[in-house]
């Protein structure tokens, strides 16, 4: 560079710095004149304290999720955020150029997102809404099983049902698990199940297969789950995120509290985990679809069962990181959703698909048609997404279940499902939340006998081996209920 060019570049750099400082000052002035109506916020932009809604407004930082265009360097991103008086909170390592940015000027998150959308370097920008925690501060009471079974209950005698030629476990609550073996109990329809007992003659699962349960966390100490909980091997370094820090992720990751302990303080995630892989034939509680499997607990839904898009992405990012580090995580089970579409979340799920991870998602419980009224993440049109509707014990579409001839792909038992609950308990619950882990469990069973099956072929196998049901004609694209025995090609 000659002397003249050097001074020219220097002058340009000085001008850019002065311009950035000027913009920052303008926004601070704008903040000082802004009036904020905070009283009624239900979804609180990150850092806004809704508990002090009646106090004088004292806003903290709003957050946005921004994806910069390919080729935008970290230095450029930092220059942009600094110039806007914002702060780069976290970059999602495996989703190129996607980052969480905190505004420090007290602007509304929609305003900040719009500001970023106006920049030529930005592909998209969305507010990250942070959900207000339960204002009463109540955690669910795990002291008494609500409509299930306590560990101290006298176990009912195991009744083995003849005739299906399958393998039945000695778990005392197995008779309540109509989804696995429906003998017509409690006015059900005999045979309206996923044919698990026949599948178990071929495979009972494998601890070489890891299923990530992204949810409210999991009670990884539950006596019926602890043998099937993923534990970070000694050979694998603790999780480290350049922006978030280091985590002792012994059993997974908690994005809601930003720590390495995904203990469940709600119950929902523990229920889903038990459906996938409560230890089978251990004379205790229930059997999972897999008697043996590894469940990786991830937490982004708080104790009230709600969470943010950003934290969901953090969990997916964690799963991708662990996959890339050699953990054989092949499935993400996602029993949650909303009607809001986030491009950032879609990109994260796509990234998981690029790693060969099948993303199995609940279709939703609004009794509506997802073809017309989309529900996310189940409605992302991605090759690794499988959307699940819920069935009753009579093989009817559950009255609450969403459906969609194009956008809901498969159905599974999801009403009155008995499973694990925190504190060594068991409860019965309903929802597409419960149908989703049934399909996740069957996917894991398939991989236990076909570990090299690609994600695409795994998804296809699930869809090609359903039991067609009249009730699902025109309701789900496969027209059928998942069948574990057919899926693993049991005799």
């Amino acid at each position: 560079m000659n002397r003249q060019n050097f001074f020219g570049h220097l002058a340009l750099a000085v001008a850019v710095v002065i311009l950035a400082a000027f913009i920052g000052q303008m926004r601070r002035m704008e903040r000082s004149h802004a009036t904020f109506e905070r009283r009624d916020i239900v979804v609180v932009p990150h850092g806004h304290d809704a508990d002090e809604a009646d106090d004088e407004a004292e806003l903290e930082d709003a957050e946005v999720i921004v994806r910069f265009r390919p080729g935008t360097s970290r230095a450029q991103i930092e220059r942009i955020t600094n110039g806007l008086n914002d702060r780069l909170l976290d970059r999602f390592e495996f989703i190129n150029n996607q980052a969480v940015i905190a505004d420090e000027d007290g602007l509304a998150p929609e305003t900040v997102a719009a500001e970023y959308r106006g920049l030529p370097e930005v592909e998209y920008a969305e507010p990250n809404f942070v959900i207000e925690l339960d204002p009463t501060g109540n955690a669910p009471d795990f002291g008494e099983a609500r409509h299930g079974h306590d560990d101290d209950d006298d176990d009912p005698p195991v009744v083995r049902h003849p005739g299906d030629g399958g393998m039945q476990p000695n778990d005392p609550l197995f008779n309540e698990q109509w989804s696995l073996l429906n003998t017509g109990q409690r006015a059900g329809t005999s045979g309206a199940d996923v044919c698990a007992t026949r599948a178990w003659t071929k495979t009972k699962g494998s601890r070489k297969i890891v299923v990530a349960v992204i949810d409210t966390g999991v009670d990884y100490t539950h006596q019926d789950l602890r043998s099937n909980i993923w534990t970070r091997p000694a050979s694998l370094a603790a999780y480290s995120d350049e922006d978030l820090g280091d985590f002792d992720d012994r059993h997974g990751f908690d994005a809601a509290d930003n720590d390495g302990d995904p203990m469940d303080d709600n119950g929902h995630g523990t229920h889903c985990a038990g459906i996938i892989g409560a230890e089978g034939d251990n004379s205790d509680g229930i059997a999972g679809v897999n008697w043996e499997v590894e469940i990786m607990p991830l937490k982004f839904l708080g104790r009230n069962g709600s969470g943010t898009t950003k934290d969901a992405i953090e969990c997916i990012n964690y799963v991708v990181a662990r996959k890339k580090a050699g953990v054989n995580v092949r499935i993400i089970s996602a029993s949650w959703g909303s009607t809001a579409r986030s491009r950032a979340l879609g990109d994260a799920i796509k990234r998981a698909g690029d790693e060969g991870i099948l993303f199995i998602a609940a279709a939703g419980n609004s009794s509506t048609n997802n073809d017309a009224r989309p529900h996310y993440p189940s409605n992302y049109d991605l090759p690794n997404v499988l959307s699940v509707a819920a069935l009753t014990r009579t093989d009817a579409l559950a009255r609450f279940s969403n459906y969609g001839a194009k956008t809901v792909h498969i159905a599974a038992p999801g009403a009155e499902i008995m499973s694990t609950w925190p504190g060594n308990q068991y409860e019965e619950h309903s929802g597409t939340s419960m149908a989703t882990p049934v399909v996740s469990g069957v996917a894991a069973l398939i991989l236990s006998v076909n570990p090299d099956l690609s994600m695409t072929d795994l998804r296809k196998r699930l869809l090609d081996t359903v039991d067609k049901l009249p009730a699902l004609d025109g309701k789900v694209s496969s027209g059928g209920r998942v069948n574990a025995a057919s899926a693993v090609r049991a005799d």
Partner: protein, 91 residues
Amino acid sequence: MAMSKEDAVNRARTDLAGRLGVAENEIKEDSVEDADFPDASFGAGAAGEMSAQMITPGWRIRLRAGGDVYEYRANRNRIRLFNFKGANYSV
């Protein structure tokens, strides 16, 4: 501390009076009934809120004020105001 149904109704009444700027005795109880809600946010989630898709039992509380009916959804842990001027709110 967990809320009773009566606690939830009282909190809803207080909240609505505040929002409307009227006295609590101007808020009348229209109906209170047990209900199954579609998810952890009682089917009253807001933009960007992801919720567990499990049927959640609770109470549907309808309050009347000035000729209009307002719906709250609650269980023993939390309350939501449903579709108030087009949006859902946590209480």
